[in-house]
Symmetry: C2
Subunit: 391 residues, 2 copies
């Protein structure tokens, strides 16, 4: 059976060009980048080159790029690192205030919640029905103790693109750190850290046709972070661990490829996405979640009344289509999406959601196949649904 993968927000296939770049570092170039011998120099050279590539793509200096093991780690480091650094001791009674949105990925929201549990003061900003944060809400939430604001650049479930530049401007005015999780946005939306007014920004390898287990955090010079991982002093002392050279080389190559191809790929994905949306919305009692225009070029997120998203996904999988109900991370729990709930959907509607996220390796014929399969699948499930049958 032909398989169609439309879960590219969950993870992506490694581009063969990326893997080719990685292979020497999985084979003969196995040195530790901290060693002074030739094997070490070889690894260090690859590390430096990768850092140069990524920093150039984000428009920053090389020593403003910190490689880590995941987007989750970058987001935890940005927020906890800033908070720990500001505390000057755990028993100082110096409570900090942290602001974030109510539709962040769990790796931001759970980090902030944990800091809240530990005694800090936290604010979760609301979003409108399309998932947009209002920059004025950020301004109003800021107080004397506010240390950091973290708002994602584009949402992983509904694809809504947030007004990062405007939020960043407000944080700059107020002298507050601003971090943005750009894991989903990078490579689909232009990301220039200077233009965006961010102090920290996260990108991840496996969302851009690179490997899993590697990511990068932009940290503006002067931003004070305590490490989450103490040790040998790698990554300018901010993130110790023997550098995962193969992974870092892969991340850099993947980043380079996706930025270079944005001009052609973004219009192609947008066209496929719009065709998908048009076709799927012909299903009765369906709706598009997220913003109609301010959305990622590859994201289509629907709700279908009277059915369960999980059942729909399982049925689609049997038909050879890999989709998702929401974020991959939460797909094994039975909780409805906190993102859809924040946009005002009721529990039942939030449960009936389907996320299709296109990628580099999808074709027009994939879109056609999926456009036909979904109405069939929805019909089948509604046929056995206990809800009222007025569709």
């Amino acid at each position: 059976m032909k398989k169609i993968y439309m879960d590219n927000a969950g993870t992506t296939q490694i581009d063969p060009r990326v893997l080719r770049e990685m292979m020497p570092y999985l084979k003969e170039k196995y040195g530790n980048a901290s060693s002074i011998h030739s094997f070490g120099v070889e690894a260090r050279t690859a590390l430096d080159k990768s850092r140069k590539i990524v920093s150039k793509l984000l428009n920053c200096d090389t020593n403003e790029i910190i490689f880590t093991g995941s987007g989750t780690e970058c987001n935890n480091l940005a927020i906890k690192g800033a908070v720990f650094n500001s505390m000057k001791g755990m028993f100082s009674k110096k409570k900090k205030h942290i602001i974030t949105s109510s539709i962040e990925h769990h790796c931001v929201s759970d980090t902030v919640k944990w800091l809240g549990k530990m005694g800090h003061d936290v604010t979760f900003l609301p979003v409108d029905k399309d998932g947009l944060v209002d920059p004025e809400d950020v301004r109003k939430a800021i107080k004397k103790e506010t240390l950091i604001v973290s708002v994602m650049m584009a949402n992983n479930e509904i694809g809504t693109i947030e007004p990062i530049k405007e939020i960043g401007k407000i944080c700059r005015e107020k002298g507050i750190y601003f971090h943005s999780d750009a894991v989903q946005a990078f490579g689909k939306v232009p990301v220039d850290v200077k233009d965006l007014n961010v102090d920290m920004l996260t990108i991840s390898g496996h969302k851009i046709y690179g490997p899993k287990g590697v990511a990068a955090l932009y940290v503006k010079r002067g931003t004070k972070l305590d490490p989450l991982l103490h040790g040998g002093g790698h990554e300018f002392g901010v993130r110790s661990s023997t550098e995962n050279i193969a992974g870092i080389v892969g991340l850099a190559k993947a980043a380079e490829l996706i930025v270079k191809s944005m001009k052609t790929e973004v219009p192609k994905l947008t066209k496929m996405r719009d065709k998908l949306i048009k076709n799927i919305l012909e299903v009765k009692n369906s709706r598009l979640n997220g913003h109609p225009t301010k959305r990622l070029c590859n994201n289509a997120n629907f709700s279908f009344r009277f059915i369960e998203g999980e059942a729909l996904n399982i049925l689609l999988d049997e038909m050879g289509i890999a989709a998702s109900t929401g974020s991959a991370c939460s797909s094994t729990t039975l909780e409805p999406s906190h993102v859809l709930l924040a946009t005002g959907l009721k529990h039942g509607e939030a449960h009936g959601s389907l996320r299709l996220t296109l990628g580099r390796f999808n074709t027009e014929s994939d879109v056609d196949f999926v456009s036909k399969a979904i109405p069939k699948a929805v019909k089948k499930l509604r046929g056995i649904s206990p809800f009222k049958k007025d569709w």
Copy 2:
């Protein structure tokens, strides 16, 4: 020029059998292990299988294995995770006491120092001239507020094997957590977490002919840790991040191979190590650092008077030999080794050290070549040394 790699404590070449196992997960099996579709199931199956392999090798249950991004992360998680969990709020004035040795890898010692800086109470235990921790010193250091003891299983610089089982027994009696960094020991010394009386234990991929960027922490059931990385709730809620399946599969395969081959590899490495030690100690004014018998089968660490270890390593590199002065992490700093200083060496002696660490791919002829090269290199450097020339 033929190159001889004798820095296997720094990092190791990936075994081709490990890489072969990883490749499908870098190519067609690219699913996110949290996704419910077939790509996700495929990844989850590989993850579960890897966990089963590692848990069996360490003699624990599958849900006692936490995969992370590095040995450094495991060690940070074990210690900080336990401390954070015990605090119940950052402003609770519940100071904890942490005990460790003075020869730990920086990822343990700097973690403990940071907790000290943050207001906790910390103790660094001395070692004897061979680098051994006295279990009785652990017993004496324990007080009412002691939460956790962390002592490495074998030292990364001098290869000394610590009396972990005895220290673990004392911690059990006192009801205190005991963590051991077994990154260097695993695969060279039998590691059975039940037999060793440990509550937590770290192993790492790239030290055992597996990939960089992946490691595992054994966490005994009932051990309470707060995550360092909050997020999607991966790894039983202890370490969030999309699982690095290729890396984890590689770690499991590498662990399986090294444990399976211990019977043949350990005697082979021991024989080569002893030959190396015998040959090198013929150099005048040289000494072996670390314990004469309680040492890793692949570790030989020497001090040569009147010369600098760094210069020696650079010269050896030119002769095609990759060695190290101490740990790879600190090889780019000019600080003398804290491990050698702790064993009582003076600054000058600690600076003149050379670490040779053998591995699976070294041969007898490598040993012969190195045995001839080192006396030559030492002689050459002493010839230009400003110190008194009575060797």
